[in-house]
């Protein structure tokens, strides 16, 4: 192990000399407390090191040890249900070891070396295998089957394979390669800053069903897509992210809390083991990995946390799973970049951010995608990346938002005025967009019904119309509008309040299946059409507005999914309500 000496300490940045044998992005241990750091700049034999732990108390003259290895994560059974810090140290074990607070210089492996797993072979001796082939599986949790793959760069025939209880470092498979035999354990390592390899990248085509009406209906994201959620504070970014982590129909969830509140991670930790996944009926925690680098934890580890998270996500993608990664918030990650860049005295770009901000953000989102995995079976996996952005003052013209919008295909714009009137999720339906809309239409129609796309289009038109009509109302008052326009306004209001508004804390309302979403929107539009006809046959507008069936529509969101009869009957109720109304009016005329 090579040894250098510290010559400068400035916040999270340490400069050491005598580091000529080290390589860029190598991990080093700083001082005798063995703080973890990473080399981010080399000049002659001087290395600039970003230290992932608090540096108070360090001084010039103290040693720096190189490890010759890049910052990597450990990948093996045990990832699910874990909670890690930004550099994959298990926070639960840290608590057991040293108590409530995180002290410095703790060294703990990301994966438990003692725990035994039941390894079940999927190949037999004599089979030829290559990188990515699944040699065996481990039942990691009740919902996740952990697939053990041949590591990258190995090809040959299986010489020996075992079955039974093993730790992650036990050798389970032996492979004869052209360079001799290779022993395979369940544990592999991968450097976080390099994307994991795949055979081929494909275009995403399946929707990620989130159960959130405004997202699924109007701005869907594809499995393997990239979405961003920018919004000022208090607009509900984190609730949106949590809702996605809860209800998205993904096999695996990786949730990265990057520079955010400690209590938010605690919330996930307390809620997820108790909440049930509507798709599997098992606790949500059984498919979740958490990476938590809260805002009071060292800033450099915040920079690493995003990469740690996405590398874990890619690993599960490579097994052929649909994986969704939530990063909250990418702005904090960008700020960590800015802080380190400032300490390196780099020439700043916009607002002090480094000039390479845009390319780093693009690199991150580009690691999402639908891929054909390595291996001979041609399985597919997807990784969906959803990043929250926290623009200062809610102003989207700032560098992080702009760089993100250039690469993310879906934009869920949160709006503080909607949040202020407690319209949640506060996603602005006029500014948000999804570039996957057309591509996903076919799949969604298959799941629900043919008319799904038409309902969406009509509803969106009415919402657009509302925005224009409101301008007019603001200028000349509601009386200037025709009855038809007033009906459009009322329908738009109904779409907003009865469909788009969704209460994350209501037992039923928190998740809506695609089919129920369709029924809800259909009811609103059925009412609209029938009311239009009624208005044309001169039935009093106010009488229509007073119909009690409107309450039935409004309360559909609270009707449980399994009461299909109630949901299906709404359209009938609308029809008969209008018939009664027409009769009553007709009756009066006769009288």
């Amino acid at each position: 192990m090579e040894e250098g000496r510290i010559i400068k300490v400035s916040g999270p940045l340490v400069v050491a000399e005598g580091m000529s044998s080290a390589r860029m992005y190598d991990v080093v241990r700083v001082s005798d407390s063995r703080l973890i750091g990473e080399i981010i700049e080399m000049r002659g034999d001087k290395a600039s090191i970003q230290v992932y732990e608090e540096t108070a108390g360090l001084g010039p003259g103290e040693p720096v040890y190189t490890t010759g290895e890049a910052l990597s994560v450990e990948l093996a059974p045990g990832l699910i249900e874990a909670i890690y810090d930004g550099i994959q140290r298990p926070l639960d074990k840290i608590k057991d070891l040293i108590g409530d607070r995180i002290e410095r210089g703790i060294e703990l492996p990301g994966i438990d070396r003692e725990r035994k797993w039941h390894f079940e072979p999927r190949v037999k001796p004599g089979d030829s295998v290559e990188s990515g082939d699944i040699v065996g599986v481990v039942r990691e949790t009740t919902v996740v089957e952990h697939r053990i793959m041949v590591p990258y760069g190995i090809k040959g025939t299986v010489q020996d394979i075992k079955e039974g209880e093993f730790t992650v470092s036990d050798q389970v498979v032996t492979i004869n390669t052209s360079n001799g035999t290779e022993g395979i354990t369940m544990l592999t390592r991968w450097p976080v800053r390099r994307g994991r390899p795949y055979a081929e990248k494909l275009s995403p085509y399946q929707p990620l069903v989130t159960g959130q009406r405004v997202l699924d209906m109007f701005f869907p994201v594809a499995k393997g897509g990239a979405a961003c959620v920018p919004g000022p504070f208090g607009s509900g970014k984190t609730v949106v992210q949590h809702q996605l982590a809860r209800w998205a129909d993904s096999d695996i969830i990786v949730y990265v809390g990057c520079g955010e509140r400690g209590n938010e991670m605690t919330e996930v930790l307390t809620d997820f083991p108790e909440l049930t996944d509507p798709h599997t009926g098992e606790p949500l925690m059984k498919r979740t990995t958490l990476v938590a680098n809260t805002s009071d934890m060292p800033v450099a580890a915040r920079e690493a946390s995003i990469y740690t998270g996405i590398t874990i996500a890619e690993y599960f993608r490579d097994m052929g799973y649909n994986v969704a990664l939530m990063a909250d918030s990418t702005s904090r990650w960008a700020e960590a970049l800015r802080e380190i860049s400032g300490r390196l005295e780099e020439m700043p770009g916009e607002e002090g951010y480094p000039a390479y901000l845009g390319s780093r953000i693009a690199e991150f989102y580009e690691r999402a995608g639908r891929v054909k995995c390595l291996g001979t079976d041609g399985r597919e996996g997807t990784l969906t990346a959803i990043g929250a952005v926290s623009p200062p003052g809610g102003d989207l013209s700032e560098p992080v938002s702009q760089a993100t919008l250039r690469v993310a295909k879906v934009f869920w714009g949160l709006d503080s005025t909607l949040a202020a009137r407690r319209h949640f999720p506060a996603i602005n339906w006029l500014t948000s967009y999804s570039l996957y809309l057309e591509r996903l239409e076919e799949q969604i129609s298959e799941i629900t019904a043919e008319d799904f796309g038409d309902l969406r289009k009509e509803a969106m038109q009415i919402l657009q119309e509302e925005a224009e009509l409101e301008e007019i109302v603001r200028l000349v008052g509601i009386d200037a509008l025709s009855v038809k326009d007033r009906l459009s306004l009322e329908t738009a209001k109904s779409i907003r309040e009865d469909f788009l508004h969704q209460n994350a804390y209501h037992d039923v309302d928190t998740y809506t299946s695609l089919n129920k979403q369709r029924l809800m929107l259909k009811a609103i539009l059925d009412f609209h059409h029938t009311a239009l006809d009624a208005v044309e046959s001169n039935i009093d507008f106010d009488a229509i507005m007073k119909l009690e069936v409107r309450d039935v529509i409004a309360r559909m969101k609270y009707v449980p999914e399994d009461e299909k009869e109630t949901l299906n009957s709404v359209s009938r109720q609308i029809k008969s309500a209008f018939q009664d109304l027409a009769q009553a009016v007709g009756g009066e005329e006769v009288a």
Binding site: S10, P60, R101, P392, S416
Partner: protein, 460 residues
């Protein structure tokens, strides 16, 4: 014997460079002997070879480069903690300023503290009744929350904070409660207001005050809130007390931080504040919370005066991203004579959902809260419309909403300085106001609650 250096080569603003030093550590405490009588303190901001960059807490006036002596103490800034702190007033650096004796510390603690392991936190969920409707009913405070007051110059944030400190209680419990007050750069009168209020109510007996006044050294303010929080952590997590920490005024704190950053010629972020302002603020705010297995808690109310009432100002904005909501005071309401002038629409408590409802406050709390919000928002819209087009342009419904908005401000938000409402009073008041609206408009409330509570109010 500590080594003394007489090698100061540069003093500029709040910074000083000492050369030819050995074995210095980043972040360690420095003593500067300006003269025989005067010792000042500083902190190492950068250790570069044999050069130390030191931040001076008490300014550089009268400092002579050749004569001043510098000692590096080999430890960070510490505060001695003890139960004797209760009832005492300290300056911004932890020295007694009430004329009383030095306290005998149980032990000394570094003021920077280590981050709390998120795995060790307990999610805050205990309702704190502040007796203020706009908070209890709509922006509920819970134990372990950090909920700032965003105010402006001339607005009554101090009386509000004092009222919260006076009235805050958790229903149905008699637990040890204390207040830690950290003042950064506020005026004597403002500080005195709090001290007198604490004296008047007897709260001083269970309070610890750290006071850095406007004319005290500005850079000292950087350590004041950390002193206060270290004391609070001791009381909460070692002595099982429920501690309410009031920090005022964070704007002054951030300005001190900016001064140091500017002197170091760092690349500035927005409005000249350093790029690490978020991280720095977070390292304070995140010290609030509850820890599993510990009886005590730290609830934090930082107070910020928004420059020009601008909510997008970096200090306010970054605070809002870290804290669990905000209480926003509005000048417009203050002018109308409404106290507390809490603008409920942009105010928010993120942790309210777990602190309210059946068993905590009342089952109908969440629904009525949402309904009051939505109705008030609509009423405000209607009033805006009426201001342009005249009252006559409003629909029948809109007129009722507009009337509701006025009543809501006058009866619900408005209350007396000494008025301590129970949460039931607050909730019933909400139902009272909702009777102004047509029942079919109460879409956010479950039918069963409408039947149960609205009829009660109607018949009463």
């Amino acid at each position: 014997m500590l080594k003394e250096y007489r090698t100061i080569t540069e003093v500029a603003g709040p910074l000083m460079v000492v050369e030819q030093v050995k074995d210095i550590k980043y972040g360690e405490l420095v003593e500067i002997e300006v003269s025989d009588k005067e010792i000042r303190r500083g902190r190492v901001l950068e250790a570069d070879g044999s050069k130390a960059l030191v931040q001076l807490f008490e300014g550089s006036a009268g400092l002579n480069l050749a004569k001043a002596k510098v000692r590096f103490l080999g430890r960070g800034i510490e505060i001695g903690v003890s139960m004797d702190m209760l009832g005492r007033v300290f300056d911004g650096f932890g020295r007694p300023r009430d004329g009383g004796p030095q306290i005998i510390p149980e032990r000394k603690v570094d003021i920077n503290g280590n981050p709390i392991n998120p795995y060790a936190r307990t999610y805050p969920s205990e309702f704190i009744q502040t007796g203020i409707s706009a908070i209890d009913g709509l922006n509920t405070l819970v134990r372990g929350q950090k909920l700032p007051i965003f105010s402006g110059s001339g607005l009554p944030h101090s009386p509000l904070a004092a009222q919260i400190a006076r009235q805050a209680k958790v229903l149905g419990t008699e637990e040890k409660f204390s207040v830690v007050f950290g003042a950064m750069g506020i005026t004597f009168e403002e500080a005195d207001y709090f001290i007198q209020d604490f004296r008047r109510t007897g709260a001083i007996e269970r309070a610890v005050l750290f006071i850095n006044l406007a004319d005290d050294p500005a850079i000292e303010r950087i350590s004041t809130p950390r002193m206060a929080l270290t004391a609070a952590e001791y009381l909460a997590f070692e002595k099982d007390m429920h501690v309410l920490v009031i920090l005022t005024d964070i704007t002054n704190y951030a300005e001190a931080l900016r001064e140091v950053s500017a002197a170091r010629m760092e690349v500035p972020g927005r409005r000249g504040y350093p790029g690490y302002l978020y991280t720095d603020l977070a390292s304070m705010y995140e010290r609030a919370g509850r820890i599993e297995g510990r009886a005590g808690s730290i609830t934090m109310i930082p107070i910020l005066t928004m420059p020009e009432d601008d909510k997008t100002h970096p200090i306010v904005d970054l605070t809002g991203y870290i804290t669990e909501g905000q209480i926003l005071l509005a000048r417009e309401l203050h002018r109308k004579g409404i106290y507390p002038p809490i603008d409920v629409l942009p105010s928010l408590s993120r942790l309210k959902d777990k602190g309210i409802g059946d068993g905590k406050t009342r089952e109908d709390h969440a629904d009525t809260m949402n309904q009051l919000y939505a109705a008030y928002a609509r009423g405000k819209d209607a009033k805006e419309l009426a201001a342009i087009l005249g009252e006559a342009a409003l629909s029948e419904d809109d007129k009722r909403f507009s009337e509701f908005a006025d009543e809501f401000e006058m009866k619900y938000v408005n209350q007396g300085l000494e008025e301590d409402r129970t949460v039931e009073q607050t909730l019933n008041l909400g139902w009272d106001l909702l009777t102004l609206l047509p029942v079919r408009e109460l879409k956010r409330i479950r039918e069963e609650y409408i039947e149960k509570y609205l009829s009660d109010v109607r018949s009463a």
